[in-house]
Subunit: 364 residues, 5 copies
């Protein structure tokens, strides 16, 4: 596996999903494929299968183009964003330059665009890497019996399960066409949102425990804000993905078979579910924020109350003591036999009275 | 009644409705029915009725399938999620694999999906168990004169009233077809939301009393947040259920008779009502939260005010005393006959002045 | 006038509009009319009128049914919810059981439902009774030349003005049909919202004055919340009523004459106006809440500031005094002739300096 | 110019726009024109113009009705709400009673209603009178070649510019028909919103300066709330006015000429712009509110901090002094030669240490 | 380059985007082009190109009009708002007076208006000048093979890249018609939003660092509010621009070629992306605001806590000292040999006890 990097984002430090911004370059003409000299050559792999055959190998882009033949379904997978490879595939399969540009200028929003001879899908595969939500764009082109997928990173295993299912001919994977394969990819991307959602949910539970149980620190606040950012990033991925599925369901080009639609409806349903949980977790995050602010306040208030109670207790006592610290010549109490004891007694009574009063008011 | 459990959710500790998450397993092919070895066999019961006949017994799944015959309506009820039983029923009645998967992978969102030969409904029966909102998915398949219901838990009595109505031939229950029966089930699920809504409303009243009357504690805050979660869970159940009813009303397959639609409109109306009260209770919860925060603040403020007033009263007095505690040789007051009395008088006057001032400002 | 009560709601203590909940009884079959044995018999009155005739009397339900004859318009008004009367009317006029159930199981949402031979309207007549917003459901059934109204309470005078207008043949009340009469009822219900809205607006003005002028108490907070609840209840009544009018305007059954539609448009307009003012009052309520919280805060802050300023003034002075209260043998100042005067002067200077500083900072 | 008043609103104290409420009188029949005996007679003026002629004079209502003749456009303007005049015009031009009622029962919402033979427009002319946003309803009826405008107040100059443009035959004002004239009136009402919006914007700038620069007082809070009310009133005027223009654009009656539509689109655009700025000013108002609350808080915090720092500085010093104020016989320090100096030194060192600590923590 | 100014906005101090208000002049007739005597004459430049030809020069407006000839595309660019030039162009190309007025009365909202023979587009070119978001309106008229652009400022280089692309015949710029050129202008305006969005995002990161790291000052608050204003201004520019693109996509006049639509879809997509990031940055701004308020609070709380802890520690100690400062004759402790030491010990023990207590409670 060859290490490489593209722009400022090295292979093993993928960009945080919620800080990722599209690289629109003002001043360039639409449809321009900018060649990134620093990028290593992409890795191209080919899967060809029919009802009873299966072939999988690593190839060059020219071999891939040459291997496409009627009968069966051809799946060309490109790992790495390489303008040369994309141009070559674009010429061979008639991919639209604007779509190719979007495949190269990551990230784009999830979307399903229909061009004359093919569909262009943008998927966002989200993962938690070292606890941080990261994001990879997967571009999918599919037409009549062929499908091309372009992944940002080389070592990605996003579609491992789909590949295995075809390899072992599970279910109807080998019977159906490129549209069903595209559905499987979409479905696996959507399904992968759920473990992430669950992890975030668990983190929020832990955070809530912390906030209620012990002192709420600024770190907690930042953690909540981070989670809210991540939920927003999830939402921004899930919402348009759901719309994308809906667009495929409404297809009128004939590239999506009627049998595939019932599966798309299922994927749509998963999208709705994901969205719903994300929304509900956003509400939870807000509610944790409220609890944080409230307990933070309450804890301080308690501290201040105790401290003020202590001060308030001693200030009158000190006042009594200071009276008998005055140097007047004519202070009869000073000469009393039990003057001192009486003063101490007065103080004790005052203190007891104050404590009783505080207790009655519930401040002690 | 056989005790059993499925996954991490034992029979007598049903999952809290607002923490329940769908079990999407990334990497599995759509339409896969995962067999859960730990689950006990499901219990299958059969009801067959026509205008003038009624038959109800506990059967095996094969008996149930064999018993289906034209004339009358056949209702097969399955208690417990058992992949084997579902597969058998799926083959016999032509149930779609994706629908079967949704019946097994609980919870799904409430929805009405039309397949070629049948409808698939997901219902969410909510109950308050030991004060906690719990949730059971009920999956309903219905076609021409047959209906299959699948419940998560064995001991559930969700549809007891409907069963009794058929048993005693009340109303038009025996005249109508499977669609009317499906409506009755939907209706009984929706109607069961109302007592829950009412209970939550009462809890909020109690909570409001507590907050206004006595000290607001962190526990109150957590209770409000819990109620808000539950209301959100209710909303998430009610909203799509209402949409589900609307989808059945718009049916074009002929599986829903025109006579049934006016009843569905009634159920829809109940759904709207439920939603409206839930929304209004959500507003109430927010308003209780506001009252909580405000009274919590106000109470602390009162404490601080009283304490500060006490300190402020004694500090000037102590100052006067400390003046006459100075050891200057030439302090004529010290030698005055009524020096001490004058000093005490000055203190009394000062204290009275301060108290008067505080009273005039309304701080005392 | 016979006193009576129904369920837990006596005649003279009508339920608060914003706490009223529909009585859905889970487990009953749809269309069941529950007989409430405790309810007194309803009072039935009959109005029959044509262009040149008018007849008004109190009758039994059987007389009412018998009196219905072609020509002119027949208006049967039922005061009190009595299952027997409703059943009888239902049979005579072909009223749908679900509509009858809704007329009995108050409160329902305002709605206009079209059945085969008649319309069913639910109206909510709101009134301020002893300052509390109360609510009465009025159910209206109307068909070709007949109209039936069912009111919850017996002594209600909701439709007095409409009755008087017909009695004296004002305007076109006697020319038009049952649809125009239904419009008049709707209109009088909607117009009755305006004085309520105005009263709430005035209350808010008073409350705002109170909050800005004097100390904001917890009672103010509860009053605002109460007003917000009432506004929400109003909104929940007005919004669907407006939709109800819109539904009648879109009528395709022919039961609503084209001439009536321009009047319905006017009623719709009033509904929009009412809604708009309610919304604006809701904003005002929020803004009063904000003012409340802010002034409450500001007042406390002022108190704390003054108190702290006093303490801060005296603490340094006390410090000076305590220095000369030390018992060192070698303290030359103590022996100075003007030592005491100097010390007092030092205190005065310090105090003056602090006061000047506080004044310059704007704290005094 | 005759002084007069209507109801509780004298001529020179026009109602504040955001407190104005419609005068719906429950219990009156729709279409009733209530005669207000206290109102002075209205002033009627007539403008007749064609391509090459122009005639303008003050007339009685009967003269106005008589003067209407085919050819050219007739504009009857009524200043003052006078039921008699409206009735007379209603009979002559076939104005609908409901529309006449709306013209008399001010204020109504801005709206465009199409009746059989004419349009009825409600406009809201807003002005700032002595800094307060006031509102006048202008009712416009227009049909084929005639237009009637009814203004609430007599001295109003709302349409002075339009009148002047016709008088001098500027632009295409004399070529076009009554619809174009109606557009001009609408346009002049909408354009008059902009100076108001700008004035409110400037007030907010001043307020923001005040809040940031000096002490934020409760008065500031009330001013912000007042501005928010005014913005809401503006929004309530602008939003339906825009919809009104849209309704005219969609006209199907033929009363609005196709050439006029492009002008209406322009007016619509102005409406959208006005709305957008109002919305943006609402956001600004909210943000000023936030700044107000935050700076108010921060200022108090600063005060409290300084005061507390002072107290905290002197309390330990006083403690030291009070130690040497104790009267123990055996206190060696008291006899030291430099005891006093040492104590003062200890105090100085303590104070310096505290100040240094406070400075390091950034509290000084 | 000639320096000039228009109204109150000099050339080198462009108006802040979020404070810019449209100059609607109430009282003027629609379609009036107000001549601004202070404005210097505009600069007109002409580009003519066909597949194989290219011509670019600075001309007078009459030369520009004369140069328009069939074949190829004519692009007339006007720098500066000059009523005379616009009138001349309006006559020559049949531009609608309302559109011309909008080109002169800047700023208008971004919009695409179709007139009989041409489209009228309003674009908003945003830039960051000295860190402040500024805004220039660009008006675009395009018809069959001609395009006219009007820019507010003379030195603007908004379309430099497009001009260069045509000059060097890059891509299909020379093949396509005026609609494609209009698209290129739109696209370059939209793409220019992205660097601005990114800069604002970076500023927010810096601000967040500042707020979390050091003391949050009022300046931070104002900066956040400023950023929020700018984001709102961005949103107000991007949202209608996106709608503008959508309007062109739906064109039915034939002025927009079908081939151009796929490019417009791409531009639309960029608009959606921009909007999405702006929305997400608005959320981030809100979250920074929350962090600001929370940390500001927390920091003060910490200060108050420490100070109060110090006071609370010394007040009891001072009390002890003041007891032994009393002048009673009969105070046995005073005569003890180790009285003083004991007193000091008592103080030390008390202090230690308090510190231990504070530590245990986590307040130290």
């Amino acid at each position: 596996m060859r290490p490489w990097k593209r722009g400022d984002r090295p292979l093993h430090a993928p960009a945080r999903a919620w800080k990722r911004r599209p690289r629109i370059r003002p001043g360039t003409l639409p449809g321009t494929l900018a060649h990134d000299a620093a990028a290593p050559p992409a890795r191209v792999s080919l899967i060809r299968f029919a009802h009873d055959s299966f072939d999988e190998r690593e190839v060059s882009v020219d071999e891939a183009v040459a291997a496409f033949a009627p009968g069966g379904v051809t799946w060309i997978n490109v790992d790495g964003l390489d303008a040369t490879v994309l141009k070559r595939l674009g010429e061979a399969f008639g991919l639209h330059p604007l779509a190719l540009e979007d495949a190269l200028d990551v990230p784009q929003r999830p979307k399903a665009e229909r061009y004359e001879k093919h569909y262009f899908l943008v998927l966002h595969a989200l993962r938690l890497v070292d606890g941080a939500l990261t994001d990879e764009q997967v571009s999918v082109f599919f037409g009549e019996r062929w499908i091309i997928t372009i992944q940002e990173r080389i070592e990605d295993e996003t579609f491992g399960a789909v590949r295995a299912a075809i390899r072992h001919g599970r279910g109807r994977t080998r019977e159906a066409g490129a549209d069903y394969l595209a559905y499987l990819l979409l479905d696996s991307v959507i399904d992968a949102y759920f473990p992430i959602i669950e992890t975030i949910g668990e983190r929020m539970s832990v955070l809530e425990q912390e906030i209620v149980g012990t002192a709420a620190t600024t770190e907690c606040l930042l953690k909540i804000q981070q989670i809210r950012h991540e939920l927003l990033a999830l939402r921004r991925a899930v919402w348009p993905t759901r719309e994308e599925v809906a667009a495929l369901m409404r297809d009128e080009s004939g590239l999506v078979a009627p049998e595939t639609r019932v599966f798309l409806r299922d994927a749509y349903d998963h999208g709705v579910q994901a969205l719903e949980i994300v929304e509900s977790e956003r509400e939870t995050a807000t509610s944790i924020m409220e609890i944080y602010l409230s307990t933070q306040n309450q804890r301080l208030n308690e501290v201040m109350k105790v401290l003020t109670v202590i001060s308030t207790l001693f200030i009158p006592l000190t006042f009594i003591a200071s009276i008998y610290g005055m140097n007047f010549e004519a202070m009869p109490e000073l000469k009393w036999r039990f003057g001192y004891t009486s003063a101490l007694g007065l103080m004790a009574v005052t203190a007891a009275g104050l404590v009783a009063y505080f207790k009655r008011r519930g401040w002690w």
